[in-house]
């Protein structure tokens, strides 16, 4: 809603047969040197937190050799072209995800490392993506972007004692504020680029939004007079969000997108799952590139996803397949699914590697965490977590390393290190016992 979409170029993608919707490829849309690229003399890092559910078949994920020039087992093979930018970490554990409902608390504890309270009214911990959003995201229009591919996971992503909040998102902006992962690419697009067509309309919408903010503030004050303490807290949460919207508006007023050719809005949710996943990655890349956000979080599939990966010949639903019972045939198929998820991620990395940013590429200046908060899905355990980092954070990360840490090192130690690399001085986070200085 905040800024307006430029005049629509002729739709081409939708003309194709059998393709219901499509976001045109970015390279076709955006001139190589954008205003953003030119102005970013010392680019701040872009942060990404890409979560895949149901862990990994670990012996097909973990490199056999440690240190530099490590090998690439099946699941991470598609990342080989980016080895210089890749850090694989082995030996980490997340204790906060250990509790009976497993799936219902696994996503929400990945980046918080705080055991959630047993309550439908969510109360866990703030997540590192949101700490970053609050520290380095305040000078972009959107402090962070949260996207997913499936609106709902299977039954186990909710729990009767813990509710649904911790199973549906990896991002909490406060212990009690889960942020929804938007799965409709059209809505994400409108969130990024808004409605409307002309500069005049954009200016008028901005003015109108400013009046809306004033109006809802005054109406909230009316309401507040009659509320009890508990409800006042709810209302003040609401006003905090209004405040955030106001901040975005002010940023948006100064955003120059004059150089950027914005692609057509996606028509809706693509029928093909792989296309959908690809589109969400594209939107993140687009948001980074337009400098609308520096922090993005994504769930590549819902927790307890029952998605069958028929497009790569795996007809089993994802979650039951992940309970492979050590059947080699099932593990082979599961690894195939996981390798596919990595390959979609690798395409996103390719996109970042090709985007110029300051002196180097967007990938040089990024820190993208790619992993799961579960290890062996057949056991529902949380150690050793499949964990990889892409990007060099503007030279602050070494890359080309497979690091093997002592068994059950808290993943919070990685989170502390990542925050420091992102320029956010941090000593302790969750159950951390130090930080991973070697990355």
């Amino acid at each position: 809603m905040f800024i307006t979409k430029k005049h629509l170029s002729r739709r081409t993608v939708l003309r194709g047969l059998g393709v219901s919707v499509g976001l045109p490829l970015l390279e076709a849309m955006i001139p190589a040197a954008t205003a953003i690229a030119k102005t970013a003399a010392a680019p701040k890092p872009r942060l990404g937190f890409i979560y895949f559910p149901h862990g990994a078949v670990m012996d097909k994920w973990t490199p056999k050799t440690d240190g530099a020039n490590f090998d690439f087992p099946e699941i991470i093979a598609s990342l080989k072209p980016y080895q210089k930018h890749l850090t694989v970490i082995t030996g980490l554990e997340n204790k906060s995800a250990i509790a009976a409902p497993v799936h219902a608390i696994t996503p929400g504890t990945w980046l918080s490392c705080v055991p959630p309270r047993i309550s439908h009214d969510p109360y866990g911990g703030i997540t590192i993506d949101q700490i970053a959003a609050q520290k380095i995201g305040q000078d972009t229009a959107m402090p962070s972007l949260e996207v997913g591919t499936e609106e709902r996971g299977g039954e186990g992503s909710c729990d009767r004692n813990y509710g649904c909040s911790y199973g549906k998102t990896i991002a909490f902006s406060s212990p009690s504020t889960p942020l929804p992962m938007e799965h409709n690419p059209r809505k994400v697009f409108q969130q990024l680029f808004g409605q409307g067509d002309t500069a005049d309309e954009r200016a008028s919408l901005l003015r109108e939004n400013a009046s809306i903010i004033d109006l809802v503030r005054s109406d909230a004050a009316d309401l507040s007079r009659t509320l009890g303490a508990r409800d006042k807290v709810m209302l003040s949460d609401y006003l905090d969000q209004v405040q955030e919207i106001q901040r975005r508006l002010e940023k948006m007023e100064h955003q120059d997108m004059g150089q950027m050719q914005i692609p057509d809005a996606p028509a809706g949710i693509p029928a093909a799952f792989d296309e959908h996943m690809h589109m969400m990655y594209e939107l993140i890349a687009l948001a980074y590139q337009a400098n609308l956000t520096r922090v993005a979080s994504m769930m590549v599939a819902a927790e307890v996803s029952n998605q069958p990966y028929t497009f790569i010949g795996v007809n089993d639903a994802f979650h039951p397949l992940s309970h492979h019972a050590n059947d080699p045939a099932k593990m082979t198929r599961l690894a195939k699914v996981q390798a596919f998820n990595t390959s979609m991620f690798a395409k996103f990395i390719k996109r970042l590697a090709e985007l110029p940013d300051g002196e180097g590429s967007m990938l040089d200046n990024s820190i993208i965490l790619f992993g799961s908060n579960m290890s062996n899905s057949n056991l529902h355990d949380h150690y050793p977590l499949p964990t990889a980092i892409l990007g060099l954070g503007g030279g602050r990360l070494k890359g080309n390393q497979h690091l093997r840490y002592p068994d059950r090192t808290p993943i919070a130690n990685l989170h502390v290190a990542l925050l420091n690399k992102a320029g956010i001085p941090t000593e302790k986070f969750g159950d951390s016992t130090g930080q991973l200085t070697e990355i």
């Binding site: 939708l14 309270r117 709902r152 729990d159 009690s176 919207i245 028929t310 639903a317 019972a325 056991l379």
Partner: protein, 817 residues
Amino acid sequence: MRVKGFLAALGLAVLGSAVQADTPMTAAHTPAFKGDWHMLQTYCVKCHNSEDWAGGVAFDTMSAAAAGDDAQIWEEAIVKLHGGLMPPPGKPQPDQAARAAFAQAAEQFLDQYAAAHPNPGHMVLHRLNRNEYANAIADLLGVSVDPNALLPRDDKSGNFDNIAEVLKVSPTFLDQYFSAARQVTVTAIGNPHARTQDNFFNGPPEPQEYQYMHVDGLPLGTRGGMLFSHTFPADGEYRFTINGLVGAGYLWGELDPNTLIITVDGKRVFENKLGGPKDLDAVDLQQAAGLTMINDRFKNVPVNIRAGEHRIGITFVQTSAAESNEILHAFVPVAGMGQPVNGNSTGPRLANVEIKGPMVAQGVSETPSRRKIFSCYPQTAAQEAPCAREILATIARRAFRRPLTDSDLKGALDFYAQGRKEGGSFDAGIQKGLLAILVSPKFLFRMHEPPPGTVPGKPFPISDIDLASRLSFFLWAGPPDDELIKVAAAGALHEPAVLDAQVRRMLKDPRSHTLVTDFAFEWLNVHGLELVDPDTNLFPDYTKDLETAFETEIELFVGNVFDSDSSVVDLLTSNRTYLNERLALHYHIPNVRGGEFRAVTVPDYRRGLLGKGAVLMATSYANRTSVVLRGAYVLDKFLGTPPQAPPPGVPAFAESQEGTDQLTVRARMEAHRAQPSCNACHAIIDPIGLALENFNALGQWRDKDIDAGTPIDASGKLADGTVVNGVNALRNHMVSHASQFVETFTANLMSYGLGRGLEYYDIPTVRGIVRDTAKDHYRFSSLVLAIVNSEAFREDEIPVKTPGAPAGSLSHTAAKL
């Protein structure tokens, strides 16, 4: 929950005595707990003691005298006893009589204790969820919107997505919420200056073979295509482009002659030919150029349409299959490696439709929305301001669900004035005024306004105005209508006869259908059917229209029980269901022809919810049934004794390896249950699921397991020792304990109606409702009325505890849901 540690226990004791000193309640009024303490000592304390704290419960720290302090634990204990969940199978068990006697004594105590310590609970500031938002918009502005396309997903709690505590506001939500307000107000008013816009409508989902079937709502004599509603912003010419009609390198669409038609509100506005020898030659000889030539005939088709909502149909005239190369049957099973065989059928199908327009807006005709909004229309400049005030006051009253105060209209009038000035028309001003109403937190949030002088911890009756909203959101999932507001504003709604009459009126109103689509669908979790994607290698005749038919069946089935005001036990037992030809074929029920659904009497095994395809499919995996999902579903949804989630680190169980003999699901689960740690729960869950094994993953009856090639064995022993064999025996067992089903149903309905999770202190109310409605055979309306008349519904209480209290203080562990 009893807190571990001596100091904490001491703290509670001190607090307890302080509360007692404040209340007039004396020891003489405190009911006595008559449960057999000896049974606890024998069977429970071995694990639940102050050394081991199994499940955080230690019975040796508790006493009969102070049983009221532990009401939450006792409610939980009753569930465990009823469900046979505790003591765990394999451990020494009290006999059924002792078990029942203890549960009964605990219930009796808790009911008396609750009567002496009433607690209606508290509804926190309640944000509209997106269904309620859409219903409100339809009521206020006469515009139908797809809430899922406008607003982010709402979190669920328990079974429902209308639970106040988890309906949070995020920047994403607010962003979309403001955009939605702009979009719906422009849509409702229409826009005489509307610019040309593109809108896309996706066609039917894959596989497209069932575009051979007639689509309900399109003219007879047509087959396939799509039907949808769209609101046009202005009168004018709109251009339609239909995509995906012909294949590239395949033969669909071009082989045989067909006629495509476009309808607007059922009237044909365009037709053109597609396919036949000429088209086939064009594609064959010219390839892409030929395709373009055909597609161009269906590109930018001009149609004049007036502003407002219209039903748009794109379809094909039915042709005789005998004159074509088309296959003769209605749908084609998939072949090969699970891929739909698009290439094997030759009829035209469409992928999506693009509507572009208006090319030049030519004003805005009268529409139902505009009639609803413009209760007056100014003829002179002097009439404008009073008319604007009248329009905005009417809508604001409905939107804020109460009579207005002076400050309520200020924002809307300011916005109107601004819009009038900048937009240059009265309509533009009204659109901005409506926008101001819809973005207001007064519209977004519901609350129970405490009367002056309300003390935390003391119940107060909610005002008639707040009661009106609570009622309408319960029964209609939307705002109260003018009549309800009128009765409430007159201060009459709380009178029993008035309230009773209003509830009955509202249940008769079509808006109460939300009790089926919002309440029942969420309770039964059949909104999630799209999550199950059956493996089409195993189920070649599965198509998306089967899924739609399952949903329609269960919607009509549940709707009939509610609308005819039958006993809710009929949900388990009724042999009347609703089928169309597609579903009847699937169920192997003969003599049902055509696409429309009608009442059909079904065999015993298909009675009630246990025989519904929607339920059976929602509890299966893509490639097989799951006795665990089905067992847990019945325990949770129908019996109110949900099993615990599996513990972390569940050991792997040996499953049949590929290449060896295939095992039945029963055999696999038996291997699993051989491990005591698994058996504790699976001994209770699995027998229920096994009783349903005669239904395959798509809910079809089967006598043989196709993996193992052996006959289905649907026998098992339930937690209470009853031996059941098959679905009929399971259902009969459930019906013989009907009150347990009714209690579970009531608890769910009450949670939905209150918009909050049930707490331990609500459970005595639920039991009371079940007792009181037994004489009325658990009629649906009697349950609704009992909930509406409960203190939990009609009162509120500001909690003593404030947020920021230590973790666990808001725990719902004893809640039944």
